[in-house]
């Protein structure tokens, strides 16, 4: 077969259950090209956040994504504290770190399960998600919610980790640690999984650097970056941990990196629980001065970046968000082309994409098919529309 057939994955993905659209151009089973279309779920979070006051924005950005729902507020409060030069109480830093690492555990287990599902290994899927449950229970115990923890606020955290929470949490960590041993053995030593994942969806170090990938996707390609170590925030400079990297850049390497990160997360939480000092968990902030601040957080999927500018009022005048998947999803263009359809399904999922984080405004037209508008084009569109409306209602400029 030499003619190109289009295999659509999306616009509503049957498995990732998120709105995105991959157009796979295939010859027989081989993928020769791929179109990536995102932007079905644009919610205008940045714009919304400019209409809310600083305390509300933390809850808003929490709702960017359900899986990394503490990374965005964490990055946001980092940005605010950078802006206002706020010294957060020590205990709050530790609590933030614990919550962020618990999130990484549940997110990586979620990915492991999904990856299993994508290669048709439903038992792995169910088992990974079964061991994700205790962590979610711990979240519920600490902050009352399984997702959307609402722990972060500018100047500290909203809830304390009580003494009676610590021993169940430690017990859960032991359980997860044992489960990770099991998963590590089951995944790394399974010949069929190896046959499916080794050498598939390779992103070389060079390519990874050129496509600016972040997080486990970059670390699996041998790029040793991690915001937690390179630009410490929270309590990460007070604990010791390793940043696992692999050189191969294939999906197997990505799996191994994530599994090893589970161990590191468990280690970090244990250290935090032991070292956590007593004291206040927040300080009251009177006002946010004019200025700008940035916050970086190593989300489970990579670096999450928030930029906030304030003009001295009670709301940000600019809030810029860059989620890690925005960088990672684009790299599929390299990784998925050349493989088979079976490879593409798992390759597209291997960067642990989070589409709701990534959404950008896009305009789809019949004549030019699809394109992303620049800011200037949006202004022009809005001016045109204003003119049109003016004409319709017969409005005349009175100057």
């Amino acid at each position: 077969m030499s003619h190109k057939v289009v295999i659509p994955i999306g616009p509503y993905h049957p498995l990732q259950e998120e709105p995105e659209f991959f157009r796979l151009y295939v010859e027989g089973e081989r993928v020769v090209d791929i179109d990536i279309v995102i932007g079905y779920n644009h919610r205008g979070i940045e714009e919304l956040s400019e209409h809310k006051h600083f305390d509300q924005v933390a809850y808003l950005v929490e709702r960017i994504c359900g899986i990394c729902s503490t990374s965005h507020p964490f990055a946001y409060v980092n940005a605010i504290e950078d802006l206002a030069h706020i010294q957060v109480p020590e205990r709050a830093l530790y609590i933030r770190t614990i919550i962020a690492e618990m999130e990484r555990i549940h997110s990586h287990l979620l990915w492991l399960g999904l990856a299993g599902h994508f290669i048709g290994y439903n038992t792995l899927w169910m088992w990974a998600w079964r061991y994700r449950e205790p962590i979610l229970d711990c979240f519920e115990m600490i902050c009352g919610n399984r997702n959307h923890y609402a722990m972060m606020k500018p100047g500290g955290v909203r809830r304390d980790i009580l003494n009676e929470h610590i021993s169940p949490l430690k017990k859960t960590l032991d359980e997860i640690s044992r489960a990770t041993d099991m998963f590590y053995g089951a995944v790394v030593d399974d010949p069929v999984i190896k046959a499916r994942l080794k050498g598939v969806g390779i992103l070389t170090k060079e390519q990874a650097r050129n496509w600016c990938v972040v997080g486990p996707t970059a670390r699996a390609s041998g790029i040793d970056i991690d915001v937690r170590r390179d630009d410490p925030y929270g309590a990460y400079d007070r604990v010791s941990f390793n940043v696992p990297t692999e050189q191969e850049g294939d999906i197997f390497a990505k799996t191994v990196v994530r599994l090893k990160e589970l161990y590191e997360s468990i280690r970090i939480i244990r250290q935090c629980l032991d070292k956590m000092p007593k004291g206040e968990i927040e300080i009251k902030i009177k006002e946010i001065p004019a200025g700008e601040g940035i916050g970086r957080v190593e989300a489970p999927r990579g670096e999450c970046f928030h930029y906030v500018r304030s003009d001295g009022t009670n709301r940000p005048i600019r809030h810029k968000i860059r989620a890690p998947s925005y960088m990672n999803v684009a790299s599929n263009k390299i990784a998925a082309v050349g493989g088979t359809i079976s490879d593409a399904a798992i390759t597209l999922a291997a960067v642990d994409p989070c589409y709701c984080c990534t959404e950008r405004c896009s305009v789809i037209r019949k004549e030019d098919n699809q394109r992303i508008l620049t800011g200037w084009e949006l202004i022009k569109l809005s001016q045109e529309k204003t003119e049109k409306l003016k004409k319709e209602i017969g409005f005349k400029d009175v100057i």
């Binding site: 994508f118 048709g120 290994y121 439903n122 169910m126 088992w127 069929v192 359809i341 399904a345």
Partner: protein
């Protein structure tokens, strides 16, 4: 009249459909338990089929006539197989010379029906699924036929009755070297024939969204589901007759059936899906090699 009863009720269509749907439930329940889930109640598969039959028939505009006819073809083939197997088990003298070959032929037909239906549906994903199914047939038929050849050599006849009689006298085929190898090979081929993981490549919901079945809905889909259910009943039964047919009293037959089906479900739940090239390599490489070894061993009388 008796023949009609045989084909339509017992041990043909109705009986095998009921047993097959029960086996399907057993599969789902056991899978669920393996995966820390609760699993459906025993009547779930019956409800599913009933629901599908109550829906309207939707035929895509690009579809050809074969789209409509192929589910019936597949179902007829498995019903004939189940009737033949059942009649032989009830009364071995019902067997006729060459029935083994007929069975081997009939067992390919469900897969071919699937390919026919899928490729006439006009859907690109179904086309990919059909091409995968076709490659898979090419893969597993060779070792399957070779392992059946092993039995023919050992028994010296192409007749189910002869195979059963031989095992009654000399013990089950699985007790010999060539028999155990041929058994393993057949088990793997059956996994592929059932479209179970790791060989559910033609349906691969995560890649091509049910592939071959993507355009089917309602009663036509129900027919395919019934075909699959009956296959799940006849495949272990066929395997029992061929390899562990020493004692075919009802009690032992039932135990063997449950044992085999459990084995199939376990295989299914402890493996990820292979890619189509890998599956073909697997069948043409190690599996065919094993099948050849079993044929040679059988020729030498082991």
């Amino acid at each position: 009249m008796k023949l009609v009863f045989n084909y339509l009720v017992f041990p043909g269509f109705l009986f095998s459909a009921v047993v097959g749907l029960f086996s399907g439930w057993f599969d789902r329940k056991l899978t669920a338990r393996i995966q820390w889930r609760k699993g459906p109640p025993w009547y779930q598969n019956f409800l599913d089929i009933l629901k599908l039959f109550s829906k309207e028939v939707i035929i895509p505009t690009q579809a050809k006539f074969t789209f409509f006819i192929s589910p019936f073809v597949g179902l007829c083939a498995v019903v004939i197989v189940s009737t033949m197997l059942g009649r032989v088990l009830l009364d071995p003298s019902e067997s006729f010379i060459g029935d083994l070959i007929v069975l081997v032929y009939l067992l390919v037909i469900p897969a071919i029906a699937l390919i026919l239906g899928a490729s006439s549906s006009g859907n690109p994903l179904a086309a990919v699924g059909a091409s995968r199914e076709m490659k898979l047939i090419l893969g597993y038929e060779l070792p399957f036929i070779l392992s059946i050849l092993t039995l023919i050599i050992k028994t010296g006849a192409i007749k189910l009755e002869a195979i059963l009689n031989h095992q009654m006298v000399y013990g089950s085929h699985i007790a010999s070297f060539s028999g155990v190898i041929a058994f393993l090979v057949t088990l793997l081929c059956i996994q592929a024939k059932l479209g179970a993981v790791p060989f559910d490549i033609s349906e691969a919901e995560q890649e091509i969204m049910a592939g071959t079945l993507i355009e089917y809905s309602g009663p036509l889909l129900a027919l395919f589901k019934l075909t699959r259910a009956i296959l799940l009943y006849i495949m272990p039964l066929f395997l029992t007759i061929l390899f562990i047919g020493k004692d075919i009293s009802f009690k032992f037959l039932f135990l063997k059936y449950i044992g085999l089906i459990t084995l199939i479900i376990l295989l299914k739940n402890t493996n990820p899906r292979l890619k189509i090239e890998q599956a073909i390599k697997f069948f043409w490489g190690p599996v065919s090699f094993l099948a050849c070894v079993s044929v040679i061993l059988a020729l030498r009388g082991w």
